[in-house]
Every structure is written in structure tokens, then in C-alpha cells.
Subunit: 335 residues, 2 copies
Amino acid sequence: MNAPAGLPPLPTVADVEDAARRLRGVAVRTPLLESPLLNERLGGRLLVKAEPLQLTGSFKFRGAYNRISRLSPEERQRGVVAFSSGNHAQGTAYAAKICGAPAVIVMPADAPAIKIANTRAYGAEVVLYDRHKEDREAIGNRYARDRGMTLVPPFNDPYIICGQGTVGLELTAQCAERDITPDAVLAPASGGGLISGIALAVKSRLPDCSVYCAEPHGYDDIDQSLKAGRIVSHSANEPTFCDALMAPHPGDITFGVMSQQLAGAVSATDAEIETAMATAFHYLKLVVEPGGAAALASVLNGKVPCANRTVIVVASGGNVDSALYSTIISRTPPV
Amino acid sequence: MNAPAGLPPLPTVADVEDAARRLRGVAVRTPLLESPLLNERLGGRLLVKAEPLQLTGSFKFRGAYNRISRLSPEERQRGVVAFSSGNHAQGTAYAAKICGAPAVIVMPADAPAIKIANTRAYGAEVVLYDRHKEDREAIGNRYARDRGMTLVPPFNDPYIICGQGTVGLELTAQCAERDITPDAVLAPASGGGLISGIALAVKSRLPDCSVYCAEPHGYDDIDQSLKAGRIVSHSANEPTFCDALMAPHPGDITFGVMSQQLAGAVSATDAEIETAMATAFHYLKLVVEPGGAAALASVLNGKVPCANRTVIVVASGGNVDSALYSTIISRTPPV
């Protein structure tokens, strides 16, 4: 860890490498997919790191396992608590199960049904709350206090960031195996845990590669924060279509890493994200949820150019209800 | 190759290994996926070899490339011709493109729109015919004769079988890497090219593992042929929902291999296949087309037991129109 002036101690690539050792043989080394037809359409080379194929259907398992597997036997026995709209919930629930720790997950009552059902199926106790009237952090903290449970934060934690960062180590290794030199790497961002970890890994291996985060249009708190040089909240107050990307602002650790490592933040509209989901269906046969498609959508819309270049996007999750998914792909043509 | 009494020379595992060398760095080494929740539901371990993630969206690219890449420069210049309802069409079109050979693909006019459009997008000349009035073999043979093109058969060819068999070599290697010993391996079958190649590979590496093919209910010509000890045609005369699995009977080479290597043939109804597609969507985030889901459907319905065992199914393709796919997943719950 290093500690720049005014920032908390920040994780380094060595911490990501340590997380990779811990996750080896536990997490899935997800494939780096591409489509010759899509490449031709874009006039460049686009590769998709397929985290919907990760255990629990999103990258979130990586960070949760890296955190929970480091708990002492006593801490494991008391269990863990997390609050999440869904993917962190499932990742934490399953990581806790593997580690033999009970888990309480605080979820908004209006989270996608598939995410609530799966979190329960992984053996966690789900506590639902009203997003408009209740404070999920207060509920989580109460469980932590009353039952002695360890809080597993969604993003602003070095172990969480470094677990997610194993996505970046894997994709650089997969590029090396196939003689690919990417010009840019993008991943969706909410609190910034995933992209922070990826940036640490990618910039250490490929210093000339530009790393961007992709936010839903209107939820551009990371873009605003990077431009302001301080943590800023977005001003949206409606739930977004990208239910996985609703954090109001980055944390101090993720902001610190992103300030040092990112080339910038881009964004995608709901319509662009629907097209990206249909494109992943058509060309890649991969189910991607709305929030998981923000980086792909940004590249398909030229926010980061792909023509005559090689760009890697992370599809971060695939936990989408069948009703919503079928509505989107039946009405939306791919690019 | 070996030649049992009354059968043509049959390919061996050495021919599959030769195909694997040729396909290395060209075809995708597709992942072997599993879902902890689905395993718990089944009381066993189910792994899915994900060929929808192969180039062109199905395993068919493997065999086509193994065949076309062996043509002489003169043969490549004259080009190739194939007849196919869709996946072999796309696999052949793209393999021909990579090898610099022009391709004519004879397709039924009622094939899924996505398969016709993609075959054209890979640069092939598509010739449509009426499935009820015209003979596709006659059309294909005319192109072969008039333009000196090489016919790329869909399944009854040693190079095609061995290219498809690389699926089997990969899955045995992936099992070895993860200390997995499968009790059974299943793949969908129409003419039997895929399952023949897989059986050669799997039985050479894991002689105690049982290999089965899965046919659509009513299109059980392989089951009938294996039981009769001779090639028998199925009696269905309507197109099946599994448009990829419509060959009327196995070929003499595939029948020869299957007679020696298979433990049997199982089948799945349309309703069971829809449930399998919804299950792959829900638990694996993988888009699977009807014909590609026949093996998964057979296991989910206990035709080959999975409880307290380890079973591998091949999901053979994912080229399904968005309208059909969204209809199926919106109305069909997963297991």
C-alpha cells in the first residue's frame, strides 16, 4: 500500500497479485471473447472479458472472497453482513458459504427478483429495506454491532478492490498469451472498486494502455469527481435502469486509485446500453445485465474509439430478470 | 484410421489430436462452465462445455477449418461448397474466409434469419432452396461440378469428425486441470459428427466414462440405428424446433464410430429443451439455441442421471433469433 498526501493508504498491484493467488482454483478465469463479425462492423478489434460467466454471475465474487477468506476462525463464526442491490449480495453470500461463515445481506425491496432469490439460494439471510425511507448502512451497522458480524463493504476496501482487480491481471495475461496489445481497457463503475483494481493491474503491465470507467448517463459522479479533483456526488435521484450502478459517489480509496490511474470516465444512455445488451446476445451469445453493459455501450458509441485499435471492455455481470431481458432483446437490434 | 469389417475406414484419436494441432490459436478453447446453485438443485455436478462461445457461435467452425485448411492452393482458389440449415453454413463460410477460399452455401429458405444473415456477413454466396421441393445435395453437387469447388460435408467426413472431436480433447484436458473425473459426457447429435469426434477423444482419455448422444424427441435415428445395428432413418417429416438437428440418418463413418464408442442415445422433447435454454440463461448466462440444448435437456430430465455424479454436457451452439429466444425465456422457468 502507498499513501499520497491527503489520501488514505492505497492498494498496489502487489496486493492484486496476492488476491490472484488466493482466488486461484476458486474463481473462474473468465474468457476474453471476440466476434469476427463485430470486429468487422467496428473496423477494429473489440474483446470482451466475460464476467457474467464468473461464479454468482458477476465479478463481485472475487472481491468478497478475497475479503472473507482472510477472516480469522472466530470472525468467520460470527459471520458477515453486506448491503447491496444484488451482485455484491450474491458474491458475498456465496463467498461466505464457501468460507463457512453465516451471512446477512441487506437488500432494497425493489432489487431484481433474480438477485434476491439467488442471494437466498446461496444460503444468506436477506433483510429487505425501503430504498426511499430507510438507511441501509444503519441497518447493516446494527447487525455488525448486535451479532459481532464483519461488514463486507461493496467497494471502498483494499481487499475488495484487489479481488476485483484480478479481472485486470487475467485480461493482461490473456492478451500476452494471444499477442494482443490493447490500446484501451474499460469497465463499468458505480463506487469504482472494479475499475480501481483493474487499473492497478493493467497500468502495471501495460503502462501505455489507457484505462477508463463507464458510468450510466446522469450517474457520472466519478467523472465529476475526477474533473473536480475531489469526491462529488451525482445529482440523479431516480433509480437507474442499471440497478448495479447506483452508488452516489466513489469512496476515498477508490477515488484515490482512480485519480492516479484512470485516463477518464465516459458514460452511456439507457438506449445505448440496451443496444449493447442486444449486441452481446447476437454476436457473443453472452447474457449481460444493464449495468454490466455500460462499458460495451460506451465503445459501441465511440466514446472511446475502437476503429483501427484494440479495445477491451469488461462485461461485469449477467444477473438480469428474464422478463426485462426478453423485452430488451426482442425490441432492440444489435449494432 | 482403422477399418472394421463392413465399415469404411474410421478416424482415430490420433486424427483428433492432429486436428487439435491445426486448430490451436485459431479456434476458441471454450470454457467448461458450472453453477453452484444448479449443482445444488441437481444434487450432483454438471459442467457445460460452452460452444456458443466458439467462433461463428457453434462447434461447426472446428470441423470446417480442419477440412478447408488442408486444401491445396489450387483447391482453395476454386473454393468450397456446403449445404446446411445454418451452423455448418456459418462455420464453413468463416473457415473459408480465413483460408482465402470463396464459398457457396446452399441453405433452406426457411432457416433462421440470423443464420442466413451471418453466413452472408462472413462473405459467402448464399443459395436458398425450397426444403420441400428441391434437393440440396443436387444443388451442391452442381456447384462442385460446374465451378470445381470442393464439397465440405456436414458430418460424414473424417476431417469434419476430428475437427469437432477437439471439443472432446479440450474438455478432458480441462477436467484434468481441475481434478474432475466425469462419469458421463453428452452432446447433441444430428448426423453424429460432433459426438463421434468427442467419443474418440473422451474414450481414449477416460475409458470408464460413458458417452451418449442426445437427439430431439421423434428424430431418434441414431438411437434406432444403434439398436438395429444398421443405419436407420427417423420417420419424422415435419421440421423440428431444433433446426440444427435435422439430418435424416447418420452417415456410414459416424455410424461406424458411434457403434464402437457410444453407451447409447437419449432424447429430449421440445418442452424439455425450452426449459434447458431457460436454465442456461438463468444459471450460466449463456445463450443456447434449441438444438444446442438437447444434451442439457436430457440430463435435466434424468435421461442420464446426474445425482451424486459428475456429468458434462456440450452446449453446441447459440445461433437463435432474438424473437424466438425472448419468447422462450419469458414464458419458461428454469429448473
